[in-house]
Structure formats: C-alpha cells, structure tokens
Amino acid sequence: MIKKLLVSPFGWLIGILLSLCICLGALLLGSLDAHSLLNSEIGHNILWNIRLPRVLLAFVIGASLSLAGVMIQSNVRNPLADPSLIGVSGGAALGAALMIVAADFIDIQVHYYIPVAAFIGGILATMAVLKLGRNDMPGGMALLILAGIAINVIAASLIGLLTYLATDSALRHITFWSLGSLASANYFWLTLCSIALLLVCIWLPRQHRKLDAILLGQAEANTMGVDVKRLQIQSIVFVALLAALAVSACGIIGFIGLVTPHIGRMLIGASHRYLLPLSFFLGGSLLVIADGVARTIIAPAELPIGIVTALLGAPVFIWLLIREGKRLQW
C-alpha cells in the first residue's frame, strides 16, 4: 500500500505536501507570531532572509544525508555504515578547526571561510581514503571503510592537538561547530547543497535495481550484470559530495544518515525503488523538525542540532537493534 503510493505521482504529491506543511510549521515556529512575521519589516526580514533559507537548508541537508546513508549502507552491505565512515566529516571538522584557530592569528571574516575550509578538508580526507582503500580484491569495500576509520582517527587526534593550542573562545567555537547548527544558513549554501542533491536525485533512481542486486552480494551483483566497482566508485563520489557540502554548511549532524534509512526500511523494506523516495522525504522532514526543536526549546538560546538528532536518533536506533535482534534471533 505505502509502496504503491511511493512510486505513484499521487504519493509524491502527498510527500511534497507533507514536507511543505512541516517546513511551513517550522517557518512560523519561534519567538514571533505569524501576524507580526507577515506584517512588520523586521518580521519580513526574519521570515525571508533567516528562517526560510534555514528551513529549506534543513530539508535539503536532511534529504542529502539520508540518501547518502542509503547509498553507503547498500554499497558496503552493512546496515551500520554511516556517510561519515569514508572520512569526510573527520576531514571537514579538521579543516574547520584549523580555520577557527587560525582566525585568532589572522584578521579575516572567519564565518565565511569556515565552510570553505571544511569543504576542502572533507574532500581531501575522502580522496586520501579512496587512495588508501583502492584495491582490486573482493574485500575492497571493507578496506575502504577501515581506511576511513583510520583517517577519522587521525583527524580527531589533530583536532585534539588544535584544541590544546586554541584560545577559550576558539575552543568553544570548535565544540559548537562539531555539534552542528543551521544558524548560519544562507541562500548561497542552500543553492550549492540543492544543486548537489538535484544531481544525485537525477542519477540515483536509475540505479535502484543495481543497488538491490548489490544487497544480495558482490558476486551475485557482478554476475547479474552490475559493474559493482563502477557503481561503488560513483556512489562514493556522490556520498562524499553530499556529506562534504552538508558538513560545510552546518557542521557535523549525526544519526540522520544512519537512522533514517533504517526507519525507511522498517516501513517499506529494503527495495530501493521505494526506499530512495521515502528516505528523501523522511530525512528532510526529520531534520526540519529537529531544527525546529533545536531553536525553540531553550529560546532565545539555541541547542546544537547534532545534540537533538542524536537524542532523537539514538533511542530509535537502540529500539531498532532490539527489534531486529528479536526478529532475526541473533
């Protein structure tokens, strides 16, 4: 039933409408009421230049991370894989931390450069992982993940070293950044992230049966007409792009990439024909809701969104583990 809906135009309409409702709700949520938002100049400014890009960016990044999660989990055939596993968030965090610490010594507009540094760091780290993990053996993907873990560890220790050198304010900045926030959302990053997401949305749905075949196994997929290596490399490049942009725009947001694909699979199974559109809407909506919570629950202050997604995501994940364990009698 849900499955049929998901691939019909009607289902898409419902998905879009639901997402719009969630976005609209998030848009109006906050310290100013709807009336003053629409009728005063400050309200207008807040609505169009602060909240709208923020809500839209939340949706785009949620959907990006969720799709990236589906891609990486299916390609490594491991339900516990996460987009950050290929080293991208570690590298991005290192780039951002370097920029934050450097800002104390050179006089620049640090807010503009942190995302750029994060993006460069993320891409460099992913390239290093790809280089390290490249081999022609059947276990190539496992090696890639191990290389990703190694790079993440190196990045984490270097960040540790940097925090040792950093001033108090820089330290606070690094910590806050590494927990993620959508507060600095603007149209520039919204455009960039949307373009990347659009590219993936054009490419990915055509691969849905190939991804299903990979779930069965690499040997099976290879003998069912899937060029597994090529598909994996393409997927990794897209995952890196999505994750690097997401991390750069709003810091590290955990759990969305890991948990939303699982929620999707619990609802409609692992067939990518249905899982891809569902993950898109679920991931986007979840992050919009999480951001709404993050910026209103202790208003006028703001919680880092990484804390909210982790607090929402971890219990879901634990429940999932118990449920799966029961079902499959581990």
């Binding site: 059947p138 049966r209 099976e220 290879n222 069912m224 199974g269 499959l328």
Partner: protein, 265 residues
C-alpha cells in the same frame, strides 16, 4: 562451445590454488566438479564467472571473457555462490525479480516471469516473506530459482540450426547447490538441471555427493590440490581406483539395474 578454458592457473598467498586447468564446456551437458575440500572447485567456478582474475585464457562463446561488459556477461552466464548473506529486508519476490536485470524486458514481462518461476518452484508461500527469515534450504531454493530465471532468459540456441557446433546456450554455474536441500528438492534440482541441458545450456555443478554426480552428470572434472586429476565421461572418470585415491577412502562401485552406486568403507 559455451566456454573454453586454456591453461588456467591461479596463485594465492604463495599457494598454487589452480594449476594448468584446460577444458571445454559444451552446451547441452551437465559437468560435475568433484574433489575433496580445498581442491579448488569453488575457485575454478568463480574464475568461470569472472569473479577471480587468473592466468590463462577463458573464452566465452569464442570471445575472451574480459571483452564482455558486466551486462553482456550476465546475459550469458548465471552464477550461484556457495553462501549468500542478505543483511537487509528484501522480499523473496524482489530477490527473484533481480534475475531479469540484465535483460531488456518490460515491467509486465518481468512480473509474469517472476510469477511463473515462483509457480514452477512451488514457493508461492514464500513469495512475500523477508528473505532473511527463510531457512537455509528455502534460501537455497530461492537462489537457485533466481539463477534459473536468469538462465532461462538467455538466448536458447536456435532450433533451426541443429548444427552441434552452434549448440551453445547459457552457462549455469552452481556452487554446491544441493548442500542444504532435502531429498525432494535435490531431485527437483536434478530435473531442472537436465531440462536446462536439454534446452542447450551448459550446467556446471559442484557436488559432494558422488552418487548424485554419477546419476546427474554427463562429464566429470575431478580436482585434486588445484590440478585436474581426471576429466571426461562420468563412468570413465569415476572409477573405484580414482575415487579411492582422490578422496582417501575405500570406495566400491556397484551396479544395480544399469545404474552405478558408490559405497564406502
């Protein structure tokens, strides 16, 4: 000829796992790969499926196997691995429908074929179950059905040219398909193998049950420590002496109403 192997060798971690293996896989035949554990049966069948790179030449229908794209390869051979592990909740029907992936079929044709194969294999009750919840034997049956569906889509040799040399359908590679099947389904498997061979496909099957091999196979390749110990017609290869030597048992071949059986002591 469906496939020709020429001087196939493979070294892994300093150990020679395959050594100078040559042979021909002809359409219409069932070829059993026999040998003790570690003899190289799985390695050989994986090389045939182009899953392992080895020295030597493999030709698939007269062309080097390396020239085929992944899709073309899947249009000519279907492979059943020894173990399959699915980590994600796919339904049996979804698993089966993947077999049509390499072929240009309409959605309707795909659905019909899947329905047909479910009927043929008597797995109607499993069709909408999570694949991971099936028993080992049930999973095995579904996987065999999946590869059979793929095979049955391969162009059968045209009936108008009965020239024996042209008789080259697809290649069906089965790595220990019978290991977790009950007797009824072992027989079903044998029947389907014979049927596939009669349609002009070539079936390569790894077996441990020698009696099964005796009854099912046309040819036998007997492997020992990566080398081909013997190769040829089933009754010629499976003699008491060779089987006893290779499997390190005392085997006796007895005859009953025109059929051979092995008993061991």
């Amino acid at each position: 000829m469906v496939m020709t192997l020429n001087q196939l060798s493979l070294k892994r971690n300093g150990k020679q796992v395959l050594e100078n293996i040559s042979g021909e896989l002809a359409g219409g035949k069932i070829i059993a790969l026999l040998g003790p554990n570690g003899a190289g049966k799985s390695t050989l069948i994986q090389s045939m499926a182009r899953l392992l790179k080895c020295d030597g030449d493999i030709e698939l229908k007269g062309q080097a196997i390396g020239c085929y794209s992944a899709e073309q390869l899947a249009q000519n051979l279907a492979y059943l691995p020894q173990h399959s592990q699915l980590q994600f909740p796919l339904e049996v029907e979804e698993v089966l429908s993947l077999a049509t992936l390499p072929f240009a079929l309409t959605k309707l044709q795909q659905r019909q074929q899947v329905k047909q194969v479910i009927q043929d294999w008597g797995i109607e009750s499993l069709a909408h179950k999570d694949f991971r919840q099936l028993s080992g034997g049930e999973q095995q049956r579904c996987q065999i059905a999946r590869t059979y569906l793929q095979l049955s889509n391969m162009k059968p040799p045209s009936a108008k040219t009965p020239d024996q040399n042209e008789k080259s359908g697809g290649l069906w590679l089965l790595d220990e398909p019978a290991s977790s099947l009950d007797l009824e389904h072992q027989q079903q498997l044998q029947k389907v193998c014979r049927q596939a061979a009669n349609e002009g496909h070539c079936v390569v099957i790894v077996l441990h049950d020698l009696n099964q091999a005796l009854h099912l196979a046309d040819d036998v390749w007997l492997l020992q420590e990566g080398k081909l110990k013997a190769q040829g017609n089933v009754t010629e290869v499976m003699t008491e002496e060779l089987i006893s030597e290779v499997f390190k048992v005392t085997a006796r071949r007895i005859e009953d109403s025109g059929k051979y059986f092995f008993i061991y002591s």
